[in-house]
């Protein structure tokens, strides 16, 4: 594949990565650790929110992030015709 197109493909990939990793960081280190205390003032059912993010919520978000990435990249691979088979 020509160089310019490959670079475009790579830049889009990097943009996806940065976006998703920001969410990854915010839910775990942000909500689950750094902001856990203020968030604990909010409760949902029996859960304090900061505690919930640290022990449940961040894990759910991790799973969702991977599947979003897979979806985005499968689309991108097709668009730039770099997919397999």
């Amino acid at each position: 594949m020509e160089k310019g197109k490959l670079e475009q493909y790579w830049r889009t990939n990097l943009a996806y990565l940065i976006g998703l990793l920001v969410v990854w960081f915010v839910v775990s280190y942000g909500f689950g650790i750094l902001l856990a205390e203020p968030l604990n003032a909010i409760t949902i059912g029996g859960f304090k929110l900061g505690f919930w993010f640290a022990q449940q919520g961040s894990i759910y978000v991790f799973v969702v992030l991977i599947f979003i990435y897979v979806m985005l990249m499968n689309k991108l691979d097709r668009k730039y015709d770099v997919h397999e088979d």
């Binding site: 490959l6 859960f47 505690f51 991977i66």
Partner: protein
């Protein structure tokens, strides 16, 4: 049928399965032996990865740990799951495109250097042995507790099973066996959790019941736990007591360490395509999350149940599981104030593990020869492993569930041990013998060398299981710290920074490893007495120092690469080719 008979039956059936599968999935070529012929469907690969990842510690000890740590236990929950996001986004697809068999392969080729490859091989072997010794011990413990055979006999039986299916089936046999092991272990974990959740909160889904109200009134479970904790002098369950910076650094080191562990990474070499590598990380995390979101619920239920059932109750009126587990030495009670009731508050009742005198006391308790700790009124000793192991009895579940938990613990320990042993044998046969000592070796002899290496590694692992070095617990921090401070940066830079050269990579790996190892060795072995927050750099414990080691590695690699020659043109082209999936095809033969 009693518990014993059920246990023999269920464990027997699962073992027959673990032996039958590799007979069906025998490995013939090196490619089948190292990476299962790169033909494993992503869903199956996800399950195998999950079973490989979740060890005896995840299955038996984690919920108990969280139970005693409360909020602080989140370091394990987030740390051991968040790494999969890094794997899926930053490592797996590119390493699959690279298409070789091992991490040292990548390091050696990308950095056009056998020195770099050798450093990577040594790290891979060290990390894997550290881990595997603990697994063998876990097998022995489960055997001795549930089948009442001596620990060492248990280890020998476990060794025999792993020996058989790893030597015969290689990665192919191991992968399909792990799929079966995942099913056994997750079923065994969820059944008691669901019943306990119903018992305490009336909700069959532990992840939701955990935030629900307790069934016998009195408000939300977590609020009640916080209240009980404060009453007894502990930190509130949902607050924790570790400093925030340490929680941050430990979580980060565990995440990055996970993404850098060779036995996890190798999993993504076994799928047919680049896009399969991405999604199988997703499947793996779903299967892992099923256990990891249940564990904190079990932790809270068990904690509540324990305090509620035991504290301030007369010994003679306690349910029968208390004396059952007292019999195994995992619970002990020292009636300091001689009132016949169990007082459970903050502090150790006595130092170390219980040593029983063999006599029974006034109300039938097992007497202890330990010196009581005088400055608190706590009378109870509880081993944290009990939280999962005793669950079925505490919830009054049928005997077959207890047997199932035994089979689950064994599945968790065996699957992890097998995966690690394979990494060790690949490192020896492929990275050392084939790549460095005798490049002309035929494929047939290479598989033979790999099989012999698995056999020897199993024997060594078994030896460490029978004679555990005292430092096993301490070296776990090592495994993650080393992976975080060496493998992770070197692979990331290899993919994302085209100009990274061998000088930068080697200097970075050495700086990261030496710093991290020195910090851990100093605080864990040289001067354990100084292992307190006041002496730590920025308040970071040895468990979390891998994060700082990683940052040092990144910084050193970057600076050194700037002042040394850029990598050759063909290496930069190799990096370009890693960045898009097309043409991955078959895992390349060498």
């Amino acid at each position: 049928m009693d518990v014993q008979a059920w246990t023999y039956l269920i464990v027997g059936i699962t073992f027959a399965l673990y032996i039958g599968i590799p007979v069906w999935a025998r490995a013939g070529s090196t490619k089948e032996f190292y990476v299962a012929g790169a033909g494993v469907p992503p869903l199956a690969n996800g399950m195998a990865t999950a079973a490989d990842w979740m060890s005896a510690a995840s299955f038996i000890s984690m919920a108990g740990l969280i139970s005693f740590m409360g909020y602080d236990g989140s370091i394990y929950l987030m740390g051991w799951t968040g790494g999969y996001v890094l794997l899926a986004l930053l490592l797996a697809p590119y390493l699959r495109k690279f298409g070789k068999f091992t991490v040292p392969d990548f390091v050696g080729d990308r950095y056009y250097s056998n020195a770099a490859r050798t450093v990577a091989v040594i790290c891979a072997i060290f990390v894997s042995f550290t881990y595997v010794a603990g697994q063998m011990r876990g097998v022995g413990v489960v055997f001795s507790r549930f089948l009442e055979v001596p620990i060492n006999t248990g280890i020998l039986i476990g060794m025999g099973i792993v020996f058989f299916y790893a030597v015969l089936g290689g990665m192919k046999g191991i992968t399909y066996t792990q799929v079966a092991q995942y099913c056994v272990l997750i079923f065994a974990y969820l059944v008691p959790a669901v019943f306990i959740s119903i018992m305490i909160t009336g909700n069959p889904v532990p992840q939701i019941g955990f935030g629900g109200e307790v069934i016998n009134g009195g408000g939300y479970l977590l609020d009640k736990l916080d209240g009980l904790h404060q009453e007894l002098g502990f930190a509130a369950y949902t607050d924790g007591s570790k400093p925030m910076i340490d929680v941050f650094f430990i979580t980060f080191a565990l995440m990055v360490g996970t993404a850098g562990l060779p036995h996890v990474i190798v999993r993504f070499f076994t799928v047919p395509k680049v896009r399969d590598a991405r999604i199988s990380a997703g499947w793996a995390l779903i299967f892992i999350a099923l256990l990891y979101t249940t564990a904190p619920a079990i932790a809270a239920f068990a904690r509540y149940n324990l305090i509620d059932t035991v504290n301030n109750k007369q010994y003679t009126e306690l349910p029968s599981w208390f004396s059952t587990w007292e019999g195994t030495g995992l619970i002990a009670w020292m009636d300091k104030n001689e009132d016949g009731a169990v007082q459970y508050v903050k502090g150790n009742a006595f130092d170390g593990k219980p040593s029983f005198t063999g006599e029974t006391g006034a109300v039938g308790q097992r007497m202890l020869s330990n010196e009581p700790v005088a400055d608190n009124s706590n009378e109870l000793y509880i081993d944290r492993d009990i939280m999962v192991l005793a669950n079925p009895e505490i919830a009054d579940l049928p005997d077959w569930v207890i047997a199932l938990v035994a089979a689950g613990g064994l599945a968790a320990a065996l699957s992890t041990a097998a995966g690690l042993l394979l990494v060790i044998s690949t490192s020896v046969a492929h990275d050392l013998v084939k790549k460095q000592i005798n490049p002309d070796i035929s494929e047939k002899s290479e598989v033979l060398v790999a099989r012999i290496a698995v056999a020897i590694a199993t024997v060594i692992a078994g030896y460490f299981g029978i004679n555990p070095p005292g430092f096993v617990a301490q070296v776990v921090a090592f495994a993650f710290g080393l992976a975080a401070s060496s493998f992770f940066p070197v692979i990331i830079l290899g993919i994302f920074y085209k100009k990274m050269n061998k000088e930068g990579a080697i200097a970075g790996m050495l700086a990261g490893i030496i710093f991290t190892a020195a910090y851990i060795i100093y605080f864990k072995f040289v001067n354990p007495a100084a292992n307190t927050p006041d002496n730590w750099i920025m308040g970071i414990s040895p468990e979390g120092i891998g994060t700082l080691g990683m940052l040092i590695n990144f910084a050193v690699s970057f600076i050194v690469s700037k002042i040394t020659p850029a990598p050759p043109e063909d290496i930069q082209e190799l990096v370009d080719s890693l960045r898009y999936p097309k043409g991955a095809g078959d895992a390349a033969m060498h």
